[in-house]
Symmetry: C2
Subunit: 206 residues, 2 copies
DNA sequence: CGCCTGCATGGCACGTTGTGTCACTTAGGC
DNA sequence: GCCTAAGTGACACAACGTGCCATGCAGGCG
């Protein structure tokens, strides 16, 4: 990969973006997105309103980096996974590995739950969650298409990407409604793994 | 069902709402949502701007009725379907029946393709499509939960609802990118049916 | 060292979105 | 013919998101 984040300016930009994302997440979970103005987020991040809109297209978009970081790591793991596995199994392994190990991601899980709960009664915030999932699905589709034998139907790979994204999305949404710890048997990783098994079984344990 | 749409006022309201929805769909597909103001939609529908916002929460929401009508009928068919079938099969039968028969729905399919294409390069419009799908998924979850044996895990029914919604969403999105007729072998109904078979097979034809 | 080009930022003005409020009209029951 | 309720319209307003230009700061060149 790139060992050199070239200009020092770029690191400052990335830091500012994360700063704004965290400020937005805190304000959103506290009073809700509706009661938060873009100017407040900008002030909390130490930039002017105009600058805020150079980082994010909309007010709610500010939290998107916090929602994508997990999926990005997961997809990277998948792209480097064993080619001999069938796609669904490879995806399951990658997601378990991406979520289960402990690291500073607990922080990410904390934000995730707060934001999902806040989004439950705010359509605009929920929209970001869905947009993030859809973009993740599109990127995932690319990885899966490259991972599978070349002759696979594009609709099939698309469906696999959609179903896999849903398995994880449902896992997170279900977990966010509970108070279960992020790494227990009712955490997102365990729920996601169970969902993948259900998908493999043709959703037939109903 | 209700044979009496009680007050005549309500029929006028419904008519106005449809009028606005069609006006919005026409303007959106013509010049794109960005280049269309809410005031133009209101004028095209024959109401004042303030009245427009009494019908729809946002500008893009105006097309939502055109996107939900198909899913609503499909869900009604499913709720009235045979209890002895397993859920996934019942869902597949319902969607084929809801989409395949010919009626004035061709009009709806026409709008659908135009709006999906317009939404491809307009995030705000795509947002409506996601929100509609999410609400459809939530309602579908209720129907499935009632359709299944009572002791079924809530996560499972949720996953089934999500996967089924995706099977249809992917079918529509795939079809919208082509010029295939809505009722041919590459139409949304046929694609959706194939996707359901893939789901039943555990996504294993990869 | 002084200059100059590029880039991130801030300030300002502006059109648009979406809402609160009040006054006007019309539907539908007494 | 009257009355209450509801849909409608006009106006004012906060907030959103963008275009434009000026400022400050980095690094390369004479």
């Amino acid at each position: 990969m790139d060992e050199k984040p070239p200009t020092l300016t770029e690191r400052r930009k990335a830091a500012t973006q994360l700063e704004l994302a965290h400020a937005a997440a805190r304000l959103f979970t506290d009073r809700g997105p509706d009661a938060t103005t873009a100017e407040e987020i900008a002030a909390a991040g130490g930039v002017a309103l105009r600058t805020f809109y150079r980082y994010f297209r909309t007010k709610e978009d500010a939290v998107a980096p916090l929602l994508t970081v997990g999926a990005d790591r997961w997809r990277a793991l998948l792209a480097a996974s064993d080619r001999s596995l069938d796609p669904l199994t490879a995806i399951e392994h990658a997601i378990v590995e991406a979520l289960s190990p402990t690291d500073d991601e607990i922080d990410g899980a904390h934000w995730m739950r707060g934001l999902l709960r806040a989004g439950a009664d705010d359509p605009a915030l929920m929209t970001v969650w869905y947009r993030v999932n859809r973009e993740s699905e599109a990127k995932l589709h690319g990885v899966i298409a490259e991972l599978s034998e070349p002759a696979i139907d594009a609709v099939t790979t698309r469906l696999v990407a959609a179903a896999a994204t849903d398995a994880i999305r449902v896992a997170f949404e279900t977990w966010a409604e509970t108070d279960a710890p992020p790494h227990g048997p009712d955490g997102p990783a365990a729920l996601a793994a169970r969902n993948f098994r259900r998908l493999s079984a043709g959703l037939r344990d109903a």
